[in-house]
């Protein structure tokens, strides 16, 4: 059921965009190509960020340090039914988008994209943004020196996002 709805969203969105664009007489194909060029630039500019992070995380995992860390926190998290594998990603999510994306990728690769952890990692990565980055960019750009409660609000929102991802994934995908 859930999978079915998920499968419909993108094709329906596509249909809407195509029909609306044609109706509004947008040169659809040329516009598509124009926007697509930006996608190439985006992916290429992401490469060094992603590569650096993935190498670093792979070292951490291959050394056995990641497993040791997961083993240490496991008893504590078992109380709350939180899979310990997800913790490194949850911890880095508000701080660095590429770090958490690399960890998510690592989890998807090692646990499988259709495993519970794989789906949880995907959901968690997609459902919150990097608070520290958003804060730095926006407040930095307009010269705000006193950010008031902004950091607290942002970090608490991330916590809710992480908990929400967990609950939603348990409900939809089981464990």
């Amino acid at each position: 059921m859930i999978v079915q709805i998920s499968n419909w969203i993108i094709p329906l969105l596509l249909l809407t965009v195509f029909l609306h664009g044609t109706y509004k007489r947008v040169p659809t194909y040329e516009t598509f190509v124009e926007g697509g060029k930006e996608g190439v630039k985006m992916a290429i500019s992401l490469l060094p960020f992603l590569l650096g992070m993935i190498v670093s995380i792979s070292i951490f995992r291959a050394s056995g340090a990641l497993d040791a860390f997961v083993n240490v926190i496991e008893p504590l998290l078992a109380i709350f039914n939180v899979p310990p594998e997800i913790v490194p990603q949850a911890l880095t999510r508000p701080i660095s988008g590429t770090a958490s994306l690399s960890i998510a990728t690592d989890l998807i690769r090692s646990e499988g994209p259709d495993s519970f952890i794989g789906r949880l990692a995907s959901t968690m990565q997609g459902s919150t943004d990097t608070t520290l980055y958003v804060l730095t960019v926006y407040f930095g750009a307009i010269g705000i020196k006193k950010m008031g409660d902004a950091l607290k609000v942002g970090l608490l929102a991330d916590l809710i996002g992480i908990i929400a991802s967990l609950i939603v994934c348990y409900l939809l995908f089981g464990s």
Binding site: V17, E38, G39, L46, T98, A99, I144, A150, A157
Partner: protein, 197 residues
């Protein structure tokens, strides 16, 4: 902060490998994972090009704009300090609808413009205003409809159903956005109470 995470992970890993006797595995993984990262980026290109192309059509046809208008009644309530027809509101709405479709690059400049307008409304003060904090809360909880990057990564690792996380992501994002707004309100009223005392 990113520097500490990046170096920290590698340094802890290498030192741990010395004691754990896994230095061989570490040595092997360094170049293998770099190669893997390149392959991953290449596979990201497919989804990014397609999606950004489609979204450019939605932008030019005015579809994103009409969507923004749909949210207007809700947002005038979320930002009581901003007059409904003030340019700040327009930028906030475009920023949110750009984020909704995963257009992070388009959303950022719009968000900065929104912030500029809000600073103007706040008498050019260097202190974050109520509206700014609300705007940040909404932005960091990231309302997303289509998590393109995650779909691409799932495809790359042979998921039988790469898009089945769309619904879970939307639900999680919805809960976290509502949560962010509530937390923001809570802190606002706490600030107000403290000022009153």
């Amino acid at each position: 902060m990113v520097n500490i995470i990046w170096v920290g992970l590698a340094v802890i890993g290498i030192i741990y490998a010395f004691f754990n006797g896994t230095i061989e595995e570490v040595n092997e993984v360094i170049f293998k994972s770099a190669e893997e990262a390149v392959a991953l980026t290449i596979s990201l290109i497919s989804v990014l090009v397609f999606w950004l192309g489609i979204m450019r059509i939605a932008e030019n046809s005015g579809l994103l704009n009409s969507l923004a208008q749909l949210f207007k009644p809700l947002f005038t309530r979320l930002f009581p300090d901003i007059p409904a027809d003030h340019p700040a509101m327009g930028y906030i709405l475009s920023n949110v609808s750009a984020n909704l479709f995963g257009l992070g690059n388009a959303a950022t400049p719009l968000g900065i413009k929104a912030m500029h307008e809000m600073k103007g409304l706040n008498g050019d003060s260097e202190v974050a205003s109520r509206s700014m904090i609300t705007f940040l809360a909404i932005n960091t909880s990231s309302v997303t409809l289509v998590p393109t990057t995650m779909i691409a990564i799932r495809m790359r690792y042979d998921s039988i159903s790469p898009t089945d996380i769309v619904i879970s992501t939307i639900l999680a994002t919805l809960v976290s956005s509502i949560g962010a707004i509530l937390i923001d309100r809570f802190f606002y009223y706490r600030r107000k109470r403290r000022q009153a005392v």
